[in-house]
């Protein structure tokens, strides 16, 4: 048993729902108890879909347990077929139905429906949402995709975008445009908006663009083996990655790498003098493996940040993220326990967090600015406006998104200049930056911290450090948004040297010591 409050990923059948909901003409019959329909609202509310997910639940109850549940399942399959007339059906069990061992696949087969019925084996007690999506899409491809004649023009499939994917909708548009610039058309985009019939035509493309390894890699590997379709390994998030992607695609398609940079603004924005203050900002990265890897490269090479730490919650990506972290000289954090993430962020004290919805809240709690780079996300990260992460516009979107939570150069300069002005005193806080508001501990939170204090707060040396009045006054002159760090650094500096008092001297010695 594992004690959990927050989960980064849902159960695997939610992954299967993400594939079913992304597609058209496909229906999912899910053997599940009453209540599992809660997952519908992820699609109708968070993603704001205007239709019900194409999922029929058997919603068995306690009185049905026994042989009756098997009949319920068969009836549900038949009624769903009659009502929705899908081109194909996927069938499977949720966590509870997995325990009652009704074998949805076998039962569906005996009904003899005139359409392909694809059974899913999703081990709910071992695997999670991303696995569910990846496995479901693999099974759909295995059952439906066949070798077919190639298209006359160079074409590619877009593989991996699903329902409830972070910015999948707009990434598709952006990647389609990148390919079109090189004269390559999209044969099939799947699962997003594809029908089962479209899946049968996957083999007509020259190659696959693997947009999201988490949800499409198994299918890409299978297609490489069975249909002879190579697939791209670079995910085009960020300027450098997009250039590499274009080169990779050109090699696969045998065309010239063409890349229209006229709308690309990140490089100039990042080079302009107002961005100088971004240099060396220490950022912590957390999310799914793909987005974290892409963000690390952007952070270091395109924004001039220092990567202070990185990690991912999906174990499937543990190996590449560990390797990448070594390359960046930091330790990888592979965990799905948000308390571990919070403890790591607290220990590293970064100046910015790039993470998920959860890290946004950790950032709020710790007073650290944060931008969202990965699922799980809430409703505001399924925006109405065009906001891809991939390609040219993706790079522009990322620059804006990451910079907004930070105090920009001119603003930072003015705040420092007027730091003793009454409107800029400590307690006021910048008007629209919640992340910089002085931190107020709630009672439970304070208690929670007090519990954790013994392990977390024990410094290297047990010397009691006292601030002399003059040093304390000097400390107050430091802008409040960096004062916490300055205070902590000075105290560490003093205690490491066995000094029990902090004078103005000590303060500036520490400042010089930590200067970069």
């Amino acid at each position: 048993m594992k004690l959990t409050v927050w989960t980064y990923e849902g159960p695997p059948h939610v992954g299967a729902m993400r594939v079913a909901t992304a597609m058209k003409g496909l229906h999912y019959v899910l053997h599940a108890p009453q209540g599992d329909t809660y997952a519908d609202l992820l699609f109708t509310m968070i993603e704001r879909r205007n239709h019900r997910p194409p999922v029929t639940y058997t919603t068995f109850q306690a009185r049905d347990l026994g042989s009756d549940t098997a009949n319920l399942f068969k009836t549900a399959c038949l009624e769903a077929y009659d009502r929705f007339r899908p081109q194909a059906m996927i069938v499977g069990a949720s966590c509870t139905a997995e325990l009652i061992q009704d074998d949805p696949g076998g039962m569906a087969e005996t009904i003899g429906l005139p359409i392909p019925v694809i059974p899913l084996e999703l081990p709910s007690y071992q695997r999670k949402e991303n696995f569910g999506a990846d496995e479901t899409f693999l099974q759909i491809c295995r059952h439906l995709a066949r070798p077919v004649e190639k298209t006359a023009h160079p074409s590619a499939n877009l593989i991996g975008p699903t329902a409830l994917g972070f910015r999948h909708r707009d990434d598709i548009t952006e990647v389609t445009a990148l390919l079109e610039d090189m004269g390559i058309s999209v044969n099939v985009c799947a699962p997003y908006d594809a029908t089962p019939e479209d899946i049968t035509r996957l083999g007509a493309a020259q190659f696959n663009v693997l947009m999201y390894p988490e949800t499409g890699e198994s299918a890409c590997r299978w297609m490489e083996r069975e249909l002879g379709l190579p697939y791209t390994k670079v995910v085009p998030i960020g300027v450098g990655a997009t250039r590499d992607f274009v080169a990779e695609v050109a090699a696969l398609a045998g065309t010239e790498p063409k890349f229209d940079e006229s709308r690309l603004r990140l490089p100039w924005y990042s080079a302009s003098v107002d961005s100088t203050y971004l240099t060396g900002k220490r950022v912590f990265l957390f999310g799914d493996g793909t987005h974290v890897a892409a963000a690390a490269r952007i952070a270091r090479d395109e924004m001039g940040f220092e990567v202070a730490g990185m990690g991912c919650y999906n174990r499937e990506m543990a190996r590449p993220i560990r390797a990448l972290a070594r390359e960046y000289g930091v330790e990888a954090l592979i965990t799905d326990d948000y308390l571990e993430v919070e403890a790591t962020i607290e220990a590293l004290a970064p100046e910015m967090i790039l993470g998920t919805q959860m890290e946004r809240h950790i950032g709020k709690r710790l007073g650290i600015p944060c931008a969202v780079i990965s699922a799980p996300v809430h409703v505001q990260d399924f925006p109405a406006r065009y906001s891809p992460q991939m390609g040219i516009e993706g790079a522009n979107v990322i620059f804006d998104t990451w910079v907004h939570p930070l105090v920009m150069g001119l603003e930072e300069h003015l705040l420092t200049m007027f730091r003793e002005d009454f409107e800029f005193h400590d307690a006021a806080g910048p008007s629209h930056h919640g992340g910089h508001a002085p931190r107020v501990l709630g009672e439970t939170e304070a208690a929670h911290r007090a519990e954790k204090a013994p392990e977390a707060a024990a410094p290297a040396s047990s010397v009691e450090v006292v601030w002399l009045p003059a040093a304390e006054k000097e400390l107050k002159k430091i802008p409040f948004f960096v004062r916490g760090k300055a205070k902590r650094n000075t105290e560490t500096f003093a205690s490491e040297r066995g000094q029990s008092e902090i004078s103005v001297e000590t303060l500036y010695e520490a400042k010089a010591h930590y200067a970069r």
Binding site: M1, Y38, N50, T96, T444
Partner: protein, 427 residues
């Protein structure tokens, strides 16, 4: 009696045949009720023993609340727990010890059963007994099931309160027990009104903390402020307590009749109630009249969700001038809803249970002006051109008693006002 209330139909919907359906249920399971129950019971912790799905459901239902160190969590069953029973009990002990060490402020721990834990027949009652002994006297450990195979949405609160009734001490005192978790502001208003009428002493179930608990016995009388408390009702009667049947305190009329029924039990006349409540009643009537304008003459359809549907339909038809087309409820407990059914003007279909696709066919044929439904159905129905009011808000928002009567009406009026206000076509 109250002169301003509309004439009461003698039998209302009491004799209306109920359409009973079974099929796909588009409803929450009982675990969802933890989200509001833990706010109410300040020294309680709710530990769900379930799967990742249960944790994911709680996270989806709790929204941003999940980030506020909430007093609930899920012990997620893993492959190894499914192998042998003895092992699972030991694992549960370990998780509970870990949890209570981390949260020394907890006085009551609820082990909440889920579908997976029920199907593998993990004996949580035995675990609760064992853990109560292990953590006595600081922490009392109780258990109940909030699984989808046994409970629908608000029934989770019922199962929780019913689990508390047997452990309340015995008393001979004549006291009123107000049953059902209400928002604090509403609870204070209710207690204030009852005190002014001269009813007392009054206790509430659930109490804020374990320390505030009281006894129950043959002289206890109780009134339900929520309609979904069937099991709790039965458990209290088993302890010898007497139920005061009354309409649910929604709207001006519902609240007045609710108070009158309690007052009568304590030998206090309706004239006293009328005198005490004159101000709030007039306020509620005026406020309802103001906000319910868009509702007059409009047709409403209820999908089943919380069991609040029948009392709400009664309020909306009698006090806001709406016509009910279909009133769906997950369960219809006549012992509790009799007074509301009798007041609901005959006409609507009453349905119990659900076959969601059939019900969707009915709502499309009926084309009501307003449809009350869950979040999984609301946007899809809006996209089809039906105005909707999502039901879960009715459980989280203060809606009971006089001062909230107009807020309740405006929850239904707002979607209609919004549709009238928007000048762009949504596709």
């Amino acid at each position: 009696m109250n002169d301003h209330s509309p004439p009461t139909p003698s039998r209302g919907c009491l004799d209306t045949p109920v359409l009973k359906e079974r099929g796909q249920h588009e409803v929450f399971c009982g675990l969802t009720s933890i989200v509001w129950l833990h706010r109410k019971m300040q020294d309680a912790f709710f530990l769900v023993v379930g799967s990742r799905t249960c944790a994911h459901l709680l996270q989806s239902a709790a929204g941003v609340m999940i980030f506020a160190e909430p007093r609930f969590a899920t012990a997620i069953l893993e492959e190894t727990d499914l192998a042998g029973m003895a092992d699972a009990q030991e694992e549960l002990d370990r998780v509970v010890h870990e949890l209570l060490a981390r949260r020394p402020d907890i006085r009551q721990l609820f082990l909440v059963g889920s579908c997976p834990s029920e199907v593998i027949k993990l004996d949580l009652a035995k675990a609760a007994e064992r853990l109560t002994v292990a953590h006595a006297p600081n922490v009392r450990v109780l258990n109940y099931s909030g699984s989808g195979i046994e409970t629908t949405f608000t029934q989770g609160e019922d199962a929780c309160l019913a689990a508390m009734v047997p452990v309340l001490p015995e008393t001979q005192a004549r006291e009123l027990l107000l049953v059902g978790a209400l928002p604090d502001v509403v609870e204070e208003q209710a207690l204030g009104l009852l005190e002014a009428i001269g009813v007392g002493p009054v206790r509430v179930l659930p109490a804020h903390t374990k320390a505030e608990e009281y006894g129950v016995g043959p002289n206890t009388v109780f009134a339900l402020t929520q309609p979904f408390l069937g099991e709790t009702h039965a458990a209290l009667i088993r302890r010898g307590a007497q139920h005061i049947p009354a309409p649910m305190p929604f709207g001006e009329e519902g609240t007045t009749r609710f108070l009158e029924a309690i007052a009568a039990e304590f030998g206090i006349g309706a004239d006293v109630v009328a005198r005490v409540t004159e101000g709030p009643r007039a306020r509620a009537r005026a406020a309802i009249a103001k906000v319910s304008e868009p509702l007059r003459g409009k047709r409403i359809f209820f999908f089943p969700d919380s069991q609040l549907e029948i009392p709400l339909a009664r309020f909306l038809t009698r006090e806001c001038g709406m016509d009910a087309v279909e009133v769906g409820t997950p369960y219809l407990t006549r012992d509790i809803l009799g007074p509301d059914l009798a007041l609901l003007p005959a006409g609507p279909r009453i349905s119990e249970g659900q076959d969601v696709d059939r019900q969707l066919a009915r709502v499309r044929a009926d084309k009501p002006d307003l449809t009350v439904c869950g979040l999984g159905l609301a946007n899809p129905l809006e996209a089809e051109g039906l105005a909707t009011k999502w039901a879960i808000e009715l459980v989280f928002t203060p809606v009971h008693f006089y001062e909230q009567a107009a807020d309740l009406a405006s929850l239904f009026a707002r979607p209609l006002r919004r549709r009238a206000a928007l000048r762009v076509e949504a596709t």
